[in-house]
Symmetry: C2
Subunit: 220 residues, 2 copies
Protein backbone atom coordinates (compact mmCIF):
# COMPACT_ATOMS: atom_id res chain seq x y z
CA UNK A 1 0.00 0.00 0.00
CA UNK A 2 1.35 3.47 -0.87
CA UNK A 3 2.01 5.78 2.05
CA UNK A 4 -0.92 7.99 2.87
CA UNK A 5 -0.93 11.27 4.73
CA UNK A 6 -0.31 10.72 8.41
CA UNK A 7 -3.29 12.94 9.25
CA UNK A 8 -6.13 11.59 7.17
CA UNK A 9 -7.68 14.66 5.67
CA UNK A 10 -10.86 13.39 4.13
CA UNK A 11 -13.85 11.73 5.69
CA UNK A 12 -13.40 8.78 3.34
CA UNK A 13 -9.88 8.17 4.60
CA UNK A 14 -10.97 8.30 8.21
CA UNK A 15 -13.83 5.93 7.45
CA UNK A 16 -11.45 3.51 5.75
CA UNK A 17 -9.07 3.49 8.71
CA UNK A 18 -11.98 3.05 11.09
CA UNK A 19 -13.35 0.08 9.11
CA UNK A 20 -9.98 -1.65 8.94
CA UNK A 21 -9.62 -1.33 12.69
CA UNK A 22 -13.13 -2.63 13.29
CA UNK A 23 -12.40 -5.73 11.21
CA UNK A 24 -9.07 -6.20 12.95
CA UNK A 25 -10.57 -6.01 16.44
CA UNK A 26 -13.49 -8.30 15.59
CA UNK A 27 -11.06 -10.85 14.15
CA UNK A 28 -8.74 -10.82 17.16
CA UNK A 29 -11.68 -11.29 19.52
CA UNK A 30 -13.02 -14.18 17.45
CA UNK A 31 -9.60 -15.85 17.25
CA UNK A 32 -9.49 -15.68 21.02
CA UNK A 33 -12.97 -17.07 21.50
CA UNK A 34 -13.22 -19.67 18.73
CA UNK A 35 -9.64 -20.27 17.71
CA UNK A 36 -7.92 -19.11 14.53
CA UNK A 37 -8.70 -22.15 12.36
CA UNK A 38 -12.36 -22.17 13.38
CA UNK A 39 -12.96 -18.50 12.59
CA UNK A 40 -14.20 -17.78 9.06
CA UNK A 41 -13.97 -14.50 7.17
CA UNK A 42 -17.77 -14.42 7.33
CA UNK A 43 -17.65 -14.67 11.14
CA UNK A 44 -15.39 -11.64 11.14
CA UNK A 45 -17.49 -9.54 8.78
CA UNK A 46 -20.65 -10.50 10.70
CA UNK A 47 -19.09 -9.45 13.98
CA UNK A 48 -17.84 -6.20 12.44
CA UNK A 49 -21.25 -5.68 10.82
CA UNK A 50 -19.95 -5.18 7.26
CA UNK A 51 -20.43 -7.08 3.99
CA UNK A 52 -18.24 -10.11 3.44
CA UNK A 53 -16.50 -8.60 0.40
CA UNK A 54 -15.38 -5.62 2.47
CA UNK A 55 -12.90 -7.81 4.31
CA UNK A 56 -10.78 -8.33 1.22
CA UNK A 57 -10.48 -4.58 0.61
CA UNK A 58 -8.41 -4.48 3.78
CA UNK A 59 -6.85 -7.90 4.26
CA UNK A 60 -5.94 -10.37 1.49
CA UNK A 61 -6.55 -13.25 3.93
CA UNK A 62 -7.26 -14.19 7.54
CA UNK A 63 -3.55 -14.78 8.01
CA UNK A 64 -2.89 -11.14 7.23
CA UNK A 65 -4.73 -10.16 10.40
CA UNK A 66 -2.04 -11.92 12.39
CA UNK A 67 0.61 -10.22 10.32
CA UNK A 68 -1.04 -6.88 11.08
CA UNK A 69 -1.03 -7.65 14.81
CA UNK A 70 2.64 -8.57 14.62
CA UNK A 71 3.48 -5.40 12.71
CA UNK A 72 1.57 -3.32 15.25
CA UNK A 73 3.88 -4.68 17.94
CA UNK A 74 6.93 -4.33 15.68
CA UNK A 75 6.22 -0.65 15.11
CA UNK A 76 6.78 -0.07 18.83
CA UNK A 77 10.12 -1.87 18.69
CA UNK A 78 11.05 0.08 15.55
CA UNK A 79 10.31 3.40 17.27
CA UNK A 80 12.37 2.29 20.27
CA UNK A 81 15.33 1.26 18.09
CA UNK A 82 15.24 4.68 16.43
CA UNK A 83 15.08 6.45 19.79
CA UNK A 84 17.73 4.33 21.55
CA UNK A 85 20.87 6.21 20.41
CA UNK A 86 19.58 9.45 21.93
CA UNK A 87 17.95 8.13 25.10
CA UNK A 88 19.26 9.36 28.43
CA UNK A 89 17.88 6.32 30.22
CA UNK A 90 20.12 3.41 31.16
CA UNK A 91 19.67 0.78 28.43
CA UNK A 92 18.35 -1.70 30.98
CA UNK A 93 15.52 0.68 31.87
CA UNK A 94 14.98 1.49 28.22
CA UNK A 95 14.60 -2.21 27.31
CA UNK A 96 12.38 -2.85 30.30
CA UNK A 97 10.08 0.03 29.36
CA UNK A 98 9.91 -1.29 25.80
CA UNK A 99 8.97 -4.78 27.01
CA UNK A 100 6.16 -3.39 29.18
CA UNK A 101 4.96 -1.23 26.30
CA UNK A 102 4.85 -4.19 23.90
CA UNK A 103 3.01 -6.48 26.33
CA UNK A 104 0.50 -3.87 27.45
CA UNK A 105 -2.03 -4.82 24.75
CA UNK A 106 -1.63 -8.62 24.84
CA UNK A 107 -1.71 -8.53 28.66
CA UNK A 108 -5.33 -7.48 28.52
CA UNK A 109 -6.38 -10.77 26.99
CA UNK A 110 -4.60 -14.09 27.56
CA UNK A 111 -7.02 -15.82 25.18
CA UNK A 112 -5.84 -13.56 22.35
CA UNK A 113 -2.23 -14.38 23.16
CA UNK A 114 -3.04 -18.09 23.14
CA UNK A 115 -4.90 -17.74 19.86
CA UNK A 116 -2.02 -15.87 18.28
CA UNK A 117 0.64 -18.27 19.50
CA UNK A 118 -1.51 -21.17 18.41
CA UNK A 119 -2.18 -19.74 14.97
CA UNK A 120 1.53 -18.99 14.56
CA UNK A 121 2.27 -22.64 14.93
CA UNK A 122 -0.51 -23.93 12.73
CA UNK A 123 0.08 -23.43 9.05
CA UNK A 124 3.10 -22.78 6.85
CA UNK A 125 1.87 -19.42 5.45
CA UNK A 126 1.34 -18.09 9.00
CA UNK A 127 4.72 -19.41 10.12
CA UNK A 128 6.29 -17.65 7.13
CA UNK A 129 4.76 -14.36 8.35
CA UNK A 130 5.88 -15.11 11.90
CA UNK A 131 9.45 -15.84 10.87
CA UNK A 132 9.53 -12.50 9.08
CA UNK A 133 8.17 -10.63 12.10
CA UNK A 134 10.46 -12.55 14.44
CA UNK A 135 13.50 -11.73 12.29
CA UNK A 136 12.58 -8.03 12.22
CA UNK A 137 11.96 -7.85 15.98
CA UNK A 138 15.23 -9.59 16.80
CA UNK A 139 17.23 -7.36 14.43
CA UNK A 140 15.69 -4.25 16.01
CA UNK A 141 16.42 -5.52 19.53
CA UNK A 142 20.01 -6.19 18.46
CA UNK A 143 20.31 -2.54 17.40
CA UNK A 144 19.25 -1.39 20.87
CA UNK A 145 21.65 -3.86 22.48
CA UNK A 146 24.47 -2.49 20.29
CA UNK A 147 23.77 0.98 21.67
CA UNK A 148 24.11 -0.50 25.16
CA UNK A 149 27.40 -2.12 24.18
CA UNK A 150 28.78 1.12 22.75
CA UNK A 151 27.92 2.83 26.03
CA UNK A 152 29.62 0.12 28.06
CA UNK A 153 26.35 -0.92 29.68
CA UNK A 154 26.04 -4.31 27.97
CA UNK A 155 28.74 -6.97 27.81
CA UNK A 156 30.73 -7.03 24.60
CA UNK A 157 32.12 -10.55 24.63
CA UNK A 158 28.91 -11.76 22.98
CA UNK A 159 27.55 -10.35 19.73
CA UNK A 160 24.37 -8.29 19.94
CA UNK A 161 22.93 -10.82 17.47
CA UNK A 162 23.50 -13.61 20.00
CA UNK A 163 22.08 -11.69 22.96
CA UNK A 164 18.95 -10.35 21.21
CA UNK A 165 17.31 -13.75 20.52
CA UNK A 166 17.83 -14.82 24.14
CA UNK A 167 16.07 -11.70 25.42
CA UNK A 168 13.24 -12.12 22.92
CA UNK A 169 12.82 -15.83 23.61
CA UNK A 170 12.74 -15.21 27.35
CA UNK A 171 10.00 -12.63 27.00
CA UNK A 172 8.04 -14.83 24.59
CA UNK A 173 8.40 -17.82 26.91
CA UNK A 174 7.04 -15.69 29.75
CA UNK A 175 4.05 -14.79 27.57
CA UNK A 176 3.51 -18.43 26.63
CA UNK A 177 3.47 -19.70 30.21
CA UNK A 178 1.44 -16.76 31.46
CA UNK A 179 -1.19 -17.37 28.77
CA UNK A 180 -1.77 -20.85 30.23
CA UNK A 181 -2.74 -19.22 33.51
CA UNK A 182 -4.16 -15.94 32.29
CA UNK A 183 -3.68 -14.49 35.76
CA UNK A 184 -2.14 -11.21 36.85
CA UNK A 185 1.39 -12.62 36.82
CA UNK A 186 2.60 -11.35 33.45
CA UNK A 187 4.18 -8.16 34.74
CA UNK A 188 6.04 -9.85 37.58
CA UNK A 189 7.20 -12.55 35.14
CA UNK A 190 8.63 -9.88 32.82
CA UNK A 191 10.17 -8.08 35.80
CA UNK A 192 11.89 -11.30 36.84
CA UNK A 193 13.18 -11.91 33.31
CA UNK A 194 15.00 -8.59 33.54
CA UNK A 195 16.22 -9.19 37.10
CA UNK A 196 17.73 -12.56 36.23
CA UNK A 197 18.79 -11.84 32.67
CA UNK A 198 20.50 -8.55 33.44
CA UNK A 199 22.84 -9.73 36.18
CA UNK A 200 22.72 -13.42 35.34
CA UNK A 201 22.32 -16.44 37.55
CA UNK A 202 25.91 -16.88 38.67
CA UNK A 203 26.91 -15.78 42.17
CA UNK A 204 30.52 -15.06 41.30
CA UNK A 205 30.52 -13.43 37.94
CA UNK A 206 33.69 -14.01 36.02
CA UNK A 207 33.22 -12.27 32.72
CA UNK A 208 36.07 -12.43 30.25
CA UNK A 209 37.98 -9.13 30.13
CA UNK A 210 36.61 -8.52 26.66
CA UNK A 211 33.13 -8.14 28.15
CA UNK A 212 34.10 -4.78 29.57
CA UNK A 213 36.82 -3.52 27.21
CA UNK A 214 36.67 -5.26 23.84
CA UNK A 215 39.49 -3.14 22.40
CA UNK A 216 42.02 -5.20 24.33
CA UNK A 217 40.75 -8.32 22.64
CA UNK A 218 41.01 -6.68 19.26
CA UNK A 219 44.53 -5.23 19.73
CA UNK A 220 46.14 -8.59 20.39
CA UNK B 1 -2.12 -46.85 37.72
CA UNK B 2 -0.35 -48.93 40.40
CA UNK B 3 3.41 -49.17 40.14
CA UNK B 4 4.53 -52.22 38.21
CA UNK B 5 7.84 -54.02 38.42
CA UNK B 6 10.57 -52.03 36.76
CA UNK B 7 11.68 -55.14 34.88
CA UNK B 8 8.54 -56.55 33.35
CA UNK B 9 8.72 -60.23 34.06
CA UNK B 10 5.95 -61.65 31.93
CA UNK B 11 5.41 -61.63 28.22
CA UNK B 12 2.01 -60.02 28.78
CA UNK B 13 3.54 -57.10 30.62
CA UNK B 14 6.13 -56.56 27.92
CA UNK B 15 3.41 -56.72 25.28
CA UNK B 16 1.33 -54.17 27.19
CA UNK B 17 4.23 -51.76 27.47
CA UNK B 18 5.06 -52.25 23.82
CA UNK B 19 1.46 -51.53 22.78
CA UNK B 20 1.22 -48.40 24.89
CA UNK B 21 4.41 -47.10 23.32
CA UNK B 22 3.20 -47.91 19.82
CA UNK B 23 -0.01 -45.94 20.42
CA UNK B 24 1.96 -43.09 21.95
CA UNK B 25 4.37 -42.83 19.00
CA UNK B 26 1.62 -43.10 16.39
CA UNK B 27 -0.31 -40.34 18.16
CA UNK B 28 2.65 -37.97 18.40
CA UNK B 29 3.41 -38.46 14.72
CA UNK B 30 -0.21 -37.80 13.76
CA UNK B 31 -0.41 -34.70 15.96
CA UNK B 32 2.64 -33.40 14.14
CA UNK B 33 1.30 -34.19 10.68
CA UNK B 34 -2.40 -33.36 11.03
CA UNK B 35 -2.58 -31.26 14.15
CA UNK B 36 -3.92 -32.27 17.56
CA UNK B 37 -7.55 -31.22 17.04
CA UNK B 38 -7.75 -32.92 13.65
CA UNK B 39 -6.42 -36.27 14.87
CA UNK B 40 -9.08 -38.76 16.00
CA UNK B 41 -8.58 -41.74 18.28
CA UNK B 42 -9.43 -43.89 15.25
CA UNK B 43 -6.59 -42.29 13.26
CA UNK B 44 -4.26 -43.26 16.08
CA UNK B 45 -5.43 -46.87 16.40
CA UNK B 46 -5.35 -47.26 12.61
CA UNK B 47 -1.79 -45.98 12.46
CA UNK B 48 -0.80 -48.23 15.37
CA UNK B 49 -2.63 -51.15 13.73
CA UNK B 50 -4.77 -52.03 16.77
CA UNK B 51 -8.51 -52.07 17.45
CA UNK B 52 -10.09 -48.75 18.40
CA UNK B 53 -11.11 -49.96 21.88
CA UNK B 54 -7.50 -50.82 22.69
CA UNK B 55 -6.68 -47.12 22.90
CA UNK B 56 -8.80 -46.63 25.99
CA UNK B 57 -7.04 -49.47 27.83
CA UNK B 58 -3.98 -47.25 27.83
CA UNK B 59 -5.15 -43.64 27.62
CA UNK B 60 -8.49 -42.27 28.92
CA UNK B 61 -8.41 -39.60 26.18
CA UNK B 62 -6.33 -38.02 23.41
CA UNK B 63 -5.31 -35.30 25.85
CA UNK B 64 -3.66 -37.92 28.04
CA UNK B 65 -1.13 -38.58 25.29
CA UNK B 66 0.13 -35.03 25.73
CA UNK B 67 0.19 -35.53 29.48
CA UNK B 68 2.26 -38.68 28.95
CA UNK B 69 4.71 -36.78 26.76
CA UNK B 70 5.02 -34.08 29.39
CA UNK B 71 5.57 -36.61 32.15
CA UNK B 72 8.22 -38.37 30.05
CA UNK B 73 10.14 -35.09 29.98
CA UNK B 74 9.40 -34.42 33.65
CA UNK B 75 10.86 -37.77 34.67
CA UNK B 76 14.24 -36.58 33.36
CA UNK B 77 14.00 -33.40 35.41
CA UNK B 78 12.91 -35.43 38.45
CA UNK B 79 15.94 -37.71 38.12
CA UNK B 80 18.20 -34.67 37.77
CA UNK B 81 16.72 -32.98 40.84
CA UNK B 82 17.36 -36.15 42.84
CA UNK B 83 20.94 -36.39 41.57
CA UNK B 84 21.80 -32.69 41.98
CA UNK B 85 22.84 -32.71 45.67
CA UNK B 86 25.51 -35.32 44.99
CA UNK B 87 26.78 -34.17 41.61
CA UNK B 88 30.42 -33.16 41.30
CA UNK B 89 29.71 -31.07 38.24
CA UNK B 90 29.38 -27.30 38.50
CA UNK B 91 25.66 -26.55 38.66
CA UNK B 92 25.86 -24.55 35.43
CA UNK B 93 27.15 -27.64 33.58
CA UNK B 94 24.62 -29.82 35.37
CA UNK B 95 21.71 -27.59 34.26
CA UNK B 96 23.07 -27.33 30.74
CA UNK B 97 23.35 -31.12 30.45
CA UNK B 98 19.79 -31.47 31.72
CA UNK B 99 18.49 -28.99 29.14
CA UNK B 100 20.22 -30.86 26.32
CA UNK B 101 18.88 -34.16 27.62
CA UNK B 102 15.32 -32.85 27.79
CA UNK B 103 15.39 -31.34 24.28
CA UNK B 104 17.07 -34.33 22.65
CA UNK B 105 13.75 -36.00 21.76
CA UNK B 106 11.76 -32.91 20.71
CA UNK B 107 14.74 -31.68 18.67
CA UNK B 108 14.26 -34.57 16.30
CA UNK B 109 10.92 -33.24 15.15
CA UNK B 110 9.94 -29.56 15.08
CA UNK B 111 6.47 -30.48 13.84
CA UNK B 112 5.87 -32.48 17.01
CA UNK B 113 7.00 -29.53 19.11
CA UNK B 114 4.67 -27.23 17.22
CA UNK B 115 1.81 -29.70 17.61
CA UNK B 116 2.43 -30.00 21.33
CA UNK B 117 2.73 -26.26 21.92
CA UNK B 118 -0.36 -25.70 19.83
CA UNK B 119 -2.39 -28.35 21.60
CA UNK B 120 -1.27 -26.96 24.96
CA UNK B 121 -2.86 -23.68 24.09
CA UNK B 122 -6.05 -25.05 22.62
CA UNK B 123 -8.46 -26.40 25.20
CA UNK B 124 -8.96 -25.92 28.92
CA UNK B 125 -8.49 -29.63 29.87
CA UNK B 126 -5.14 -29.67 28.05
CA UNK B 127 -4.09 -26.39 29.61
CA UNK B 128 -4.97 -27.84 33.01
CA UNK B 129 -2.57 -30.73 32.33
CA UNK B 130 0.06 -28.30 31.07
CA UNK B 131 -0.19 -26.08 34.14
CA UNK B 132 0.35 -29.15 36.29
CA UNK B 133 3.39 -30.26 34.30
CA UNK B 134 4.72 -26.73 34.19
CA UNK B 135 4.35 -26.35 37.94
CA UNK B 136 6.14 -29.64 38.56
CA UNK B 137 8.99 -28.84 36.18
CA UNK B 138 9.52 -25.40 37.69
CA UNK B 139 9.49 -26.74 41.27
CA UNK B 140 12.06 -29.39 40.32
CA UNK B 141 14.27 -26.80 38.60
CA UNK B 142 14.04 -24.64 41.72
CA UNK B 143 15.36 -27.56 43.79
CA UNK B 144 18.42 -27.80 41.53
CA UNK B 145 18.92 -24.05 41.71
CA UNK B 146 18.76 -24.23 45.51
CA UNK B 147 21.61 -26.73 45.44
CA UNK B 148 23.56 -24.21 43.35
CA UNK B 149 22.79 -21.48 45.88
CA UNK B 150 23.89 -23.63 48.82
CA UNK B 151 27.17 -24.23 47.02
CA UNK B 152 27.66 -20.54 46.35
CA UNK B 153 27.45 -21.05 42.59
CA UNK B 154 24.11 -19.30 42.06
CA UNK B 155 23.19 -15.84 43.31
CA UNK B 156 21.22 -15.76 46.53
CA UNK B 157 19.63 -12.33 46.36
CA UNK B 158 16.78 -13.84 44.33
CA UNK B 159 14.70 -16.80 45.47
CA UNK B 160 15.17 -20.08 43.60
CA UNK B 161 11.43 -19.88 42.92
CA UNK B 162 11.97 -16.59 41.06
CA UNK B 163 14.96 -17.80 39.07
CA UNK B 164 13.52 -21.17 38.02
CA UNK B 165 10.60 -19.81 35.93
CA UNK B 166 12.95 -17.47 34.07
CA UNK B 167 15.25 -20.34 33.12
CA UNK B 168 12.31 -22.51 32.08
CA UNK B 169 10.61 -19.75 30.10
CA UNK B 170 13.85 -18.94 28.29
CA UNK B 171 14.30 -22.55 27.23
CA UNK B 172 10.64 -22.85 26.23
CA UNK B 173 10.84 -19.61 24.23
CA UNK B 174 13.89 -20.99 22.43
CA UNK B 175 11.90 -24.13 21.56
CA UNK B 176 8.96 -22.04 20.36
CA UNK B 177 11.00 -19.86 18.01
CA UNK B 178 13.10 -22.78 16.80
CA UNK B 179 9.95 -24.76 15.97
CA UNK B 180 8.95 -21.99 13.53
CA UNK B 181 12.17 -22.61 11.62
CA UNK B 182 12.71 -26.30 12.29
CA UNK B 183 16.36 -25.89 11.34
CA UNK B 184 19.49 -27.07 13.12
CA UNK B 185 19.60 -24.03 15.38
CA UNK B 186 18.04 -25.46 18.54
CA UNK B 187 21.28 -26.49 20.20
CA UNK B 188 23.02 -23.18 19.56
CA UNK B 189 19.91 -21.37 20.82
CA UNK B 190 20.01 -23.35 24.07
CA UNK B 191 23.77 -22.79 24.32
CA UNK B 192 23.20 -19.04 24.00
CA UNK B 193 20.46 -19.08 26.65
CA UNK B 194 23.03 -20.43 29.09
CA UNK B 195 25.79 -18.07 27.95
CA UNK B 196 23.61 -15.00 28.41
CA UNK B 197 21.53 -16.16 31.36
CA UNK B 198 24.44 -17.36 33.43
CA UNK B 199 26.55 -14.22 33.40
CA UNK B 200 23.78 -11.83 32.47
CA UNK B 201 23.68 -9.03 29.93
CA UNK B 202 25.27 -6.27 32.00
CA UNK B 203 28.88 -5.31 31.28
CA UNK B 204 29.61 -4.09 34.80
CA UNK B 205 27.97 -6.47 37.13
CA UNK B 206 26.99 -4.88 40.38
CA UNK B 207 25.26 -7.58 42.35
CA UNK B 208 23.98 -6.70 45.77
CA UNK B 209 26.28 -8.11 48.48
CA UNK B 210 23.58 -10.54 49.46
CA UNK B 211 24.00 -12.28 46.11
CA UNK B 212 27.28 -13.73 47.32
CA UNK B 213 26.85 -13.90 51.08
CA UNK B 214 23.21 -13.79 52.09
CA UNK B 215 24.00 -14.16 55.79
CA UNK B 216 25.04 -10.51 55.97
CA UNK B 217 21.67 -9.45 54.71
CA UNK B 218 19.98 -11.60 57.32
CA UNK B 219 22.09 -10.43 60.26
CA UNK B 220 21.15 -6.78 59.91
Amino acid sequence: MPTTLSHPSSRRERRSIELRERLFRAAIQLFARKGFAETTVEDITNAADVGKGTFFNYFPSKEHILGAFGRLQISKVQAAADAAPSTRLPIQTFLRNLAFDVISKPAQNPAVVRALLQANLSSEPVRETMREIHGMATALLARIIEVGQQRGEIRKDLAANDIAPVLRQSLLGAMLIWSLYGDGSLESRIENVFKVLWNGMAAHVELPRSAVSPEEGKSR
